[in-house]
């Protein structure tokens, strides 16, 4: 048995799969103040009359971290930065308690200015005096040399042993110091609440005799074990949209380019599938206006949903961003987007007469007949959704490229299919698909697609290796893995690839991901000869390998 539980803004859905069949689903209102309680209530609903010991895997997608960051209620955290050479320090005032230290690392990891012990001591003493118990530390180019951050961590341990420390080089290691600093900071900010949540879940599952692995859905559409999420809780941010994208993947199981549109009450969330895999945002997740190094899906949201109120005003038709209740046909107080689509398509939905009255009233205010008014609303909604989708295609086509080959062979997005999820999908998606000129699918299981996607998402893992044969060393951006290159002359791209793959395998074992290693993909492999004078003194490599988001092997799809 596989269980997936997806916490949403208003309700939490759970599904239980047995031999690939959906055998049970449960829906409960989300209690944002106690998400663990909500999750456990859904779990109990799913397990009623069943043996908890038979559960093979439980996956949870929760809004805990998203909410914590949105409401800025995380733990007070100090941020110690070593920005070195570059922008003025003021550009990096990321947190209210930001401390700057002198010191500099260059792009090849050479420490060109050391940090001063006395400066570290002053900063730590101040943090301690202010009673701040959590400290995030990030240095520019710490992805090329971790020693500066580690030196600061040692000093903190000595001077303020009670403080918890998060290092930038241990949370994210790609280039981009501000994103690394933000990621480390939010990791520290969310950790205490997350750990409390994890403790409760673990304890409750233990009591229920559920011994199966428990995984958490991440922003990238993959999972990680609950126990490892304690190190990087911030990776669980925005897992809701990831759940719906994985739901579409699970329902389609086609290697197609598709748009997944989740049309809720007041918003539509749009994700793209490329060859059947969710597309990631190249900028990383955007949290409170700041970019991070967290792998997240490329998503667009529009304040337009089935319950969005529509009104007419002096000849104009307007779709507002407001919701006054459900659609008029379901007893709501005003005409909505759903009512307009139902009216336009001549569908008898709920209290159709009541909906027609409300539409007629709004149309009268615009000086229009009900028919043309509904048509205008439909046109406006399709136009806005269509433009947003086209914009996403263009963005994907124009992703930054730094090689001649990539520019000459610019890709074009060819859409194969539109997937609809969410309450209003049935009404809107057929017309939207028609406008985009592609077939569509609103699956019978669309209402629980999020929970289903959560249940069957497989683990993901990405590793980036940086190797410098002149310095005879390599670094990997996870868990502080690094090593020496014993035979620099013989270390070619092939060896760099192998080393990256070995590191991936080592990390995959601890993440229940070993079975997906045969699907390891090389995302990027670049090599540069270092020439000084007229001879080669070494090579620099970067190799990114990953287990991409996908479905667990045990899942073989559900019938249409």
């Amino acid at each position: 048995m596989h269980i997936g539980i997806d916490v949403g803004g208003t309700s939490t859905d759970g599904v239980l799969l047995h031999r690939g069949e959906l055998v049970q689903s449960v829906k409960k209102p989300s209690r944002q103040e106690d998400l663990a309680e909500t999750i456990l209530a859904v779990l109990d609903g799913l397990l009623e009359g069943r043996d908890a010991g038979a559960v093979r895997r439980l996956v949870i997608s929760t809004t805990l971290v998203t909410n914590l960051l949105a409401t800025q209620k995380g733990a007070r955290t100090a941020l110690i930065l070593v920005p070195g050479r570059g922008l003025p320090f003021d550009f990096y005032r990321i947190a209210p308690d930001t401390y700057f230290l002198k010191g500099n690392i260059d792009f090849r990891g050479k420490v060109t200015e050391p940090v001063e012990e006395a400066e570290i001591e002053r900063a730590v003493a101040d943090i301690r005096a202010r009673g701040i118990g959590r400290i995030a530390v990030a240095a520019k180019f710490s992805n090329r040399n971790r020693t500066v951050e580690q030196e600061i961590a040692r000093a903190i341990k000595r001077l303020y042993p009670e403080a918890t420390v998060v290092l930038g080089s241990e949370t994210a290691n790609r280039l981009n110091f501000p994103r690394r600093a933000v990621t480390a900071y939010y990791s520290a900010v969310t950790a205490p609440e997350w750990n409390g949540f994890a403790d409760r879940i673990e304890e409750a599952l233990h009591r229920r005799g559920l011994k199966a692995p428990v995984d958490i859905l991440k922003a990238d559409g993959g999972t990680m074990p609950l126990v490892l999420s304690r190190e990087n809780p911030v990776e669980t941010v925005f897992s809701g949209p990831a759940a719906s994208a994985m739901g579409a993947v699970a329902l389609s199981r086609r290697k197609e380019n598709a748009v997944v549109i989740d049309i809720g009450g007041t918003t539509s969330d749009i994700a793209l599938l490329i060859d059947g895999e969710p597309l990631h945002a190249s900028g990383g997740a955007l949290i409170n206006g700041r970019l991070t190094h967290i792998n997240a899906l490329a998503l667009r949201s529009l304040a337009l949903g089935g319950d969005s109120a529509v009104k007419g005003e002096s000849g104009r038709v307007e779709i507002t961003a407001e919701r006054f209740g459900p659609a008029a046909c379901f007893g709501g107080p005003v005409a909505t987007v759903s009512d307009a689509f139902a009216c336009h398509r001549g569908l008898k939905l709920g209290e159709a007469e009541r909906a027609r009255e409300k539409i007629a009233a709004a149309a009268a205010a615009a000086g229009l007949e009900p028919g043309p008014f509904a048509a205008a609303v439909v046109e406006q909604a399709l136009e806005r959704l269509g433009a947003l989708i086209q914009g996403m295609f263009r963005e994907w086509e124009n992703e930054p490229a730094y090689k001649v080959w990539e520019i000459v062979h610019r890709r074009r997005f060819r859409l194969d299919r539109l997937y609809g999820i969410g309450g209003a999908a049935e009404l809107i998606v057929p017309l939207l698909a028609d406008r985009l000129g592609v077939p569509y699918l609103v699956h019978r299981l669309a209402p629980v697609a999020n929970a289903l996607g959560t249940a069957v998402a497989r683990p993901t893992l990405a590793v980036s290796l940086y190797a410098d044969t002149q310095q005879k060393r390599y670094l990997v951006d996870r868990e502080g893995i690094e090593g020496s290159i014993d035979n620099p002359e013989g270390f070619r791209l092939e060896e760099a690839r192998k080393t990256a793959a070995q590191c991936l395998a080592r990390l995959a074992a601890a993440r229940g991901a070993a079975q997906y290693l045969n699907d390891t993909r090389v995302i990027l492999a670049e090599q540069f000869n270092m020439i000084r004078g007229f001879s080669r003194v070494g090579k620099i490599f970067r190799v990114d390998v990953q287990i991409a988001p996908g479905l667990i092997d045990e899942f073989e799809g559900v019938a249409d």
Binding site: R85, G86, L87, P88, F89, F91, N104, D106, F107, R108, T112, E113, K140, F141, N143, L175, N176, F177, P178, R179, G283, L291, N398, P400, A401, Y402, K403, V404, W405, I407, V408, E526, F528, N529, M530, I531, G533, F534, S535, R536, I540
Partner: protein, 450 residues
């Protein structure tokens, strides 16, 4: 406030040869520095992506012999296309200024291009400028070439054009490639005074370059009143550059760009890939974006390390006085040349292609017209490394040519095509009509370049 446009195209899959200064590694550390700084995430900066320049964009500037395909590889088309993307963004008002960090470079490429010289095949700045003039109607343009090498290609392309002020400061041609760029190179008679060369003594420092900027370059721009200022932004005046002998720093480059305030900057040379380029490029981006760049400097930077020689400053004073006078006399000189002269000004020239080992001789004729900046005819013969010779006859009609001269030039092209005249290829470049043709006399075929 509008952002600064940034187009970063390091051509990580292109090199002249594996150990050549123009190799994949050249902008690697610049990439590291730009991305580690998170420059592209700033509201002050907007990143753009290059596209391929079209054949017509190249033909608007160059006569590529034997053909554009043979001279401009895909890498060259992407680099040139990158400068066009920046130009479009600027002309559309999306950005307050723009910096195209592109390679391969272009400022040694001349009107007639038989191959690669000074690491350049096609001239990115000229292609950008002619595109801007054609598409958006710009006319008066100033180019300040800040590369350590004389921008001889750009100079040659605009030598006859009084609407383009070309200023180049560089290490003295007696001590460095390409061996030109002396004060007496002032422009062809119809455009005399709008080519300004500032040969600098080796070891000139930040102080010296900023000195000549304040006393000569900025006053020239002030008087010329260009609609657009382009920085042909080489970075090899740096104290660590392996191919030159100057003592400029990243701080100096930032200050230069702050004072110059170019509308568009296009990367040219600079081969100190690890100890200079990351710092100069970042400092330059910050200067253009209006960000304080005082924290962006080389790890070994020492403001007291280089002292300017007072004798050098005195020499720069003399150059400034001389060139200001040359510039201010330009209208009179031009009028006198046209009045007295025969209908054609003509000259000959030898050009050496260091990278491709080609020796080219040219005969150049320019029509002297009281009403316009008239057409040029270039007869070119190039001897390649293994003795093969290619001959080209080129007719170039500028955008602001009067209709009488334009007709005359088109007739001359037609006649040459009929008579052959010993050239393997005959070209027509009619910028006024945006019409570009290439006649292959061996196959007796004419093609229109689109």
């Amino acid at each position: 406030m509008k952002p600064t446009g940034l187009l970063f195209f390091p051509a990580f899959d292109w090199a002249i040869s594996p150990s050549h200064p123009e190799r994949e590694e050249r902008l690697l550390y610049t990439r590291d520095q730009i991305f580690e700084e998170g420059i592209m995430d700033l509201p002050q900066v907007r990143e753009y992506q290059p596209r391929l320049a079209e054949a017509r964009d190249i033909a608007r500037v160059h006569f590529c012999v034997p053909s554009i395909k043979d001279i401009a590889s895909e890498a060259h088309l992407v680099a040139a296309g990158g400068s066009l993307v920046m130009a479009d963004a600027f002309a559309a008002g999306e950005i307050k200024n723009g910096f195209a960090i592109i390679r391969p470079p272009g400022h040694h490429a001349m009107t007639v291009a038989h191959g690669n010289r000074g690491f350049c095949n096609i001239n990115n700045e000229a292609i950008m400028i002619e595109y801007l003039r054609r598409k958006y109607g710009y006319r008066r343009i100033a180019i300040v070439d800040t590369d350590v090498h004389h921008g001889d290609g750009t100079q040659e392309i605009y030598y006859h054009d009084p609407d383009v002020l070309f200023i180049s400061f560089h290490q003295d041609g007696r001590t460095l490639y390409p061996g030109s760029g002396f004060v007496e190179e002032m422009g062809a008679p119809p455009a005399v005074g709008t080519t300004i060369n500032i040969p600098l003594a080796p070891y000139t420092t930040d102080e010296g370059i900023l000195y000549v900027l304040d006393r000569l370059i900025l006053p020239l721009l002030e008087e010329f009143k260009p609609e657009l200022v382009v920085n042909s932004a080489g970075q090899d005046n740096h104290y660590s550059d392996p191919l030159a002998n100057m003592r400029f720093t990243a701080t100096g480059y930032a200050e230069l760009n702050r004072r110059l305030a170019p509308d568009l900057a296009v990367l040219e040379g600079g081969y100190s890939v690890e100890t200079a380029l990351p710092y100069i490029n970042l400092a330059l981006i910050m200067a253009m974006a209006g960000i304080d760049s005082s924290n962006m400097r080389e790890p070994d930077y020492d403001p007291a390390a280089f002292k300017e020689d007072p004798g050098n400053l005195a020499r720069l004073d003399r150059i400034a006085a001389l060139q200001l006078e040359n510039f201010r006399r330009r209208e009179d000189e031009r009028a006198a040349a046209i009045k007295k002269g025969p209908p054609f000004y003509s000259t000959t020239r030898q050009i050496y292609y260091d990278t491709d080992h080609i020796r080219e001789s040219q005969q150049i004729k320019q029509r002297l017209c009281p009403n316009c900046c008239s057409y040029r005819v270039i007869a070119s013969a190039a001897v390649h490394a293994y003795g093969q010779i290619s001959r080209a006859l080129c007719f170039s009609i500028p955008l602001y040519c009067c209709s009488a001269c334009r007709e005359e030039a088109r007739d001359a092209y037609r006649q040459a095509v009929q008579e052959g005249g010993g050239a393997d290829y005959i070209y027509l470049q009619d910028r006024a009509a945006d019409d570009y043709r290439r006649f292959d006399s061996r196959g007796d075929t004419e093609e229109t370049i689109n």
